[in-house]
Symmetry: C2
Subunit: 441 residues, 2 copies
């Protein structure tokens, strides 16, 4: 048997504890499968005194993760601290500088510093693996970096945030508001006390930026992503979507266009019959359109300590066997500068929901604004609401009526300008709702 | 740049031609991604004179694949000949004996000789990779061997034969007979002139036997698989399944039980809401239940030259980078002997369809036979068929009536004995139809 692979583990939260438990439970099997024992030799975490479900007494304790990263007593540094800067960034750089392989689940770190870290790792001849940073237990990084090595990838998209998908699934199934479902998600531990990072789409954007880099061979550019969250989606949108044959999902989409790479994260109406429409709850899914492999769809647990630890272990096992793949599937020097696509037409058009004041000429004005931008309408639904019985003192005539419009293909610019003009005309209450439609297979 | 990886390619059918096209089209990218150029240096195929869509004039031609396998002018032998014995087997052995890496898409070969070939490859320190042998372009072998290295796998199941899934999908959607859909599949090139191997489940069984070996760390034993094909499924079964909330799929299922490994391939009723029910047409899907990763589902193109070539290229790219994984995810010496599970209860019970003669006491006799074996019935549907108007001379009273029964959980032995006894009683016409029900998530 070969010498053990010694792990320096920084971070003992949900994922770190699950990883320690995995190594304890499957240690014998791991040694058989990878050809060498895998042992946790050093640990850095915040609270040494905390009671933990696994026995870590054989590992040396470090108060400082950077010291652990530099310590010669380990071969692989596993970073499960989190955050784009501070201890996570410093310790990963220290580990690479010390010539160690690094495994991380840190999407924020890689989204910000991934290319620089990949260059540093290549300079030292070590691996920088991050399967757990995207879509939890789903092997999407391995699939893109290795399984699809012989393909040109044209599009990668998916449900990359379980919190949002849980909230959207409950809104759709139970006709509840965003706020109600967010509260339920927080109660179940699926959402943070401050949910902004998840529900406004930033978490999905970080993950998408990493998928984009591998899929298209470009430098990571999370700032180039158009990001829109789910907090403005209402039960009325779900009702309309259902009637029109759609589901609403927060999707991250990256695609190759003639003018460059398009990256966006936003609520999307997808046909009920599509594979992606059927991914419910905290499950994640990633679909890849590749020229030889065709369309691949991978779905599974997008978060949780056990599933994420499984992906961390996959990266460690590759290192234990001596398998080396470039961080983004190719040498960092071969990553092309990110070239952002021009705004372009969307397949399938747009869903628009307006609250229109019931006045003569209001609808004609709206239709004219759309026509001015050469936007054709596939369907218009205006359902007259019965005046509310118990709204005393509220002038019934003034209550705006919901109008739903589905456009044919048009450009993002055209739709935005038309909606601006419609709003300025003063016939609608509040902001128009706009959701992009995608016709996925 | 490192020295080129020289490929000896045996077989220029659909997959071989697609692979040559892939290397031609993506050669520059492949060199960047894997760190070395990949070149086809030798070819063996049946007909040298045949016009082919790719230029292979730079490669040396061999009439005998064994000679190509032994030729020092290539580093990797790619076997795309097919068949468990003969040239495929001989050339793969010759290549391994000559110290070459082997990539094959040959499920029949590995299903029969996989363990012996894996031992030989390990003895020579070379890779024997076979991503393309199971589920075409879906990276299920890589996922099981590498991504799930840190997991105990409890069950692996899937739609492993596109021909069957195409036929079943059309039967369900268009209310057609098996024979009609088979003819359509043959016309489209989805089924062979002699379709037995596909429609009777043997192809799926070969693939399942390979998934089983990796998932459970056992020797391959395709003969231990219970195999039942789809040729006996009728439109009446689809109609009943639809009413009861099920779809009918040909599934391969391998699971870990207390008494050993259970492997079976048979038509299965799965809830309409399950992920596997929604895989239509020639698409394949594989689901894995793993202790840390949870449930993973991978779906994509299960066949076709391009998708299969993508998987062959994935195996070649691993070899080019120097990544080495044991053929079945661990050293062949660590594969345990296959231990077959005892027949056990199935979750979800059974669907039974009988053609019952309309006689006093017939139904009571059937019910008693089920009760004798302690089989409880969840539902019974008897729909009296209107006597056929245009069946002159046919005694209407004798026409058997369809009776559908859904049982609660019971054992395979109990259900078989009950159906034997029911048949012997003489109240039913023809053979009872029996389809297993599985409650997948």
């Amino acid at each position: 048997m070969n010498a053990p692979l010694r792990i320096g583990l920084a971070g003992l939260g949900t994922v770190g504890s699950a990883l320690a438990g995995l190594i304890q439970r499957h240690g014998n099997e791991l040694a058989i499968r990878t050809g060498r024992p895998i042992a946790i030799s050093g640990i850095a975490a915040r609270d040494r005194a905390k009671t933990r479900p696994v026995d870590l007494s054989a590992a040396r304790w470090f108060d400082d993760p950077v010291a652990l990263a530099r310590d010669p007593g380990n071969d692989v540094f596993v970073e499960l601290i989190g955050g784009a800067e501070g201890p996570a960034n410093e310790s990963v750089r220290a580990a690479i500088d010390a010539g160690k392989h690094v495994v991380t689940a840190n999407k924020a770190l890689l989204s910000r510093h991934g290319v620089a870290l990949a260059r540093a790792a290549e300079g030292k001849g070590v691996s920088l693996n991050f399967e757990a940073a995207v879509a939890g237990g789903i092997p999407v990084i391995k699939t893109l970096r290795e399984a699809l090595a012989g393909n040109t990838i044209n599009r990668v998209y998916g449900i990359l945030n379980g919190t949002c998908n849980y909230i959207l699934t409950r809104m759709q199934e139970e006709d509840l508001s965003f706020a109600e479902c967010l509260a339920a998600a927080q109660k179940l531990g699926y959402a943070e006390a401050d949910p902004t990072f998840d529900v406004e789409g930033f978490d999905a954007a970080h993950k998408l930026s990493l998928l984009t880099a591998i899929a298209f061979g470009t430098e990571v550019d999370a700032d180039a992503i158009y990001v829109e969250g789910i907090s403005r989606i209402t039960p009325a949108d779900f009702e309309a979507a259902d009637e029109l044959g759609y589901r609403i999902k927060l999707l991250g989409v990256a695609s190759r266009t003639e003018s460059g790479i398009e990256q966006r994260v936003h609520p999307t109406m997808v046909p009920k019959s599509s594979a992606i429409a059927r991914i419910d709850g905290v499950t994640n899914a990633v679909a890849v359109d590749a020229d030889f492999a065709g369309q691949l769809v991978l779905s599974g647990a997008g978060a949780g300590g056990a599933a994420t630890a499984s992906s961390v272990m996959s990266d460690i096992a590759d290192i234990a066997r001596g398998d080396r793949v470039g961080t983004f599937g190719r040498p960092a020097s071969h990553l092309e500068p990110y070239r952002q696509a021009e705004i372009r037409a969307h397949e399938g058009g747009y869903y628009i929901r307006l609250a229109v004041y019931d006045r003569p000429g209001a609808f004609a004005a709206i239709a004219r604004r759309m026509a001015d931008k050469a936007i054709s309408l596939e369907s218009i639904v205006q359902r007259r609401r019965a005046p509310r019985a118990n709204a005393p003192g509220h002038p019934v005539m003034a209550e705006p009526q919901p109008v739903i419009m589905i456009t044919y293909e048009t450009t993002e610019t055209a739709i935005r300008e038309a909606l601006e003009a419609i709003k300025a005309d003063g016939h609608v209450a509040g902001d128009p709702q706009m959701i992009r439609i995608e016709q996925f297979g």
